[in-house]
Point group: C2
Chain length 198, copies 2
DNA sequence: TTAAGAAATACGACCGGTCGTTTTTAATTA
DNA sequence: TAATTAAAAACGACCGGTCGTATTTCTTAA
């Protein structure tokens, strides 16, 4: 019989809900009770899944970044000779989704970097590794684009990947308080259609 | 005799401490008690100065941005025919100070945008106006630089000011978790010494 | 100038609630 | 029955905010 594996299901549900609530209300602004209620897991059971809120937060961060890496990775391997186009299409997809969400909550990584990046070592390390993985992928895409001749070669792929990530993060913050997608659109335009090509 | 004006002094002390603690621990991560203890103001007195924690947060935001506007403004009016140089020197100053602080706490605006930008209307508006004032000043500086021939003219000063602010914010977040000034240095270099000049 | 009255501020105790976590009990499995 | 896991109950600490009251400051009138 297919074991329901309720434990793994609950764990996943908690992580999913953690992403949503941490993104909308922040880490300290979200109580465990709120997360547990949303997925119908008793409070006493939480510590069967995670050893503390802090460790849970670190796990939420890793859980959050996974889909983004998968999607960007897919875009890159699909469009063989147009890596820059793949990156453009990937961010365009994100913009569409952010507009659908009415600009509620930008990027969990950005929000948590500011809120607990300096106070929680565990979460800081998780943020570091999440961003590093994301950056490495973006960097490899930009390196491809350089070889394909669509991106300037007088800057390293790493430098450009970092710049793109940082500007994107800042633009997401602006988007939230301006309630407009203009900042993120301009971010992509300025970098992907101007600065990175020469 | 010089009137002590204890009220105004206490109010200022609370705002100063609010900046420090909100920056290091976030809004929800900082209790009123902690702020009050640090400046020796009793709990019951807080609400003679501010009507709620939320309004206090909004006031802290305005209090925070003021020195930055003054400093940038001073740099701009001091260097008559080199507005771009003034902007460069202003950011270089910030970088030095951030390095001295060992990268603890980047920018209060960035942190609070992510944490409460979507949940507190009062603070969201305060963040909006603070950033708008800062952006307008930076924009006027870039416009000067354009007239002086040191900055490209095929982009509007507004667009460049927004890009610089957003990238700077993102770089500050990265700085915090990487514990390195490399992101903010690269931000200034990429924009002020490359993208903005042609 | 002074006395009296009104208003604002100072202050600590305390409110109901929620926080993250631990301990204890109940249920399940071996 | 013994061992393992789930969940309920309880824990102290702390949250933002309110209370009554004591003190100061400001306003007014004599």
């Amino acid at each position: 019989m297919p074991k329901p594996n309720k434990k793994e299901f609950n764990r996943e549900s908690l992580l999913n809900q953690g992403v949503v609530l941490f993104m909308n209300q922040g880490y300290h602004g979200t109580g465990l009770q709120e997360i547990l209620d949303a997925v119908n897991v008793p409070k006493g059971s939480f510590y069967n899944y995670f050893s503390s809120k802090e460790e849970f937060g670190a796990a939420v961060i890793q859980h959050y970044i996974e889909p983004f890496i998968s999607r960007l990775s897919l875009h890159l391997q699909q469009s063989g000779s147009d890596a820059l186009g793949a990156i453009r299409r990937y961010f365009d997809e994100l913009i569409v989704e952010l507009e659908e969400n009415k600009f509620k909550g930008g990027c969990l990584l950005g929000s948590l970097m500011g809120e607990i990046g300096s106070t929680s070592d565990v979460c800081q390390q998780s943020l570091q590794s999440a961003i590093a993985r994301y950056r490495d992928l973006l960097q490899s895409g930009l390196a491809q684009a350089q070889q394909q001749g669509s991106v300037r070669t007088d800057k390293t792929p790493e430098e450009m990947a970092d710049l793109l990530i940082n500007t994107w993060q800042g633009a997401l913050l602006r988007m939230q308080i301006e309630k407009s997608s203009a900042p993120i659109k301009q971010c992509c335009h300025d970098l992907l259609n101007d600065f990175f090509i020469r």
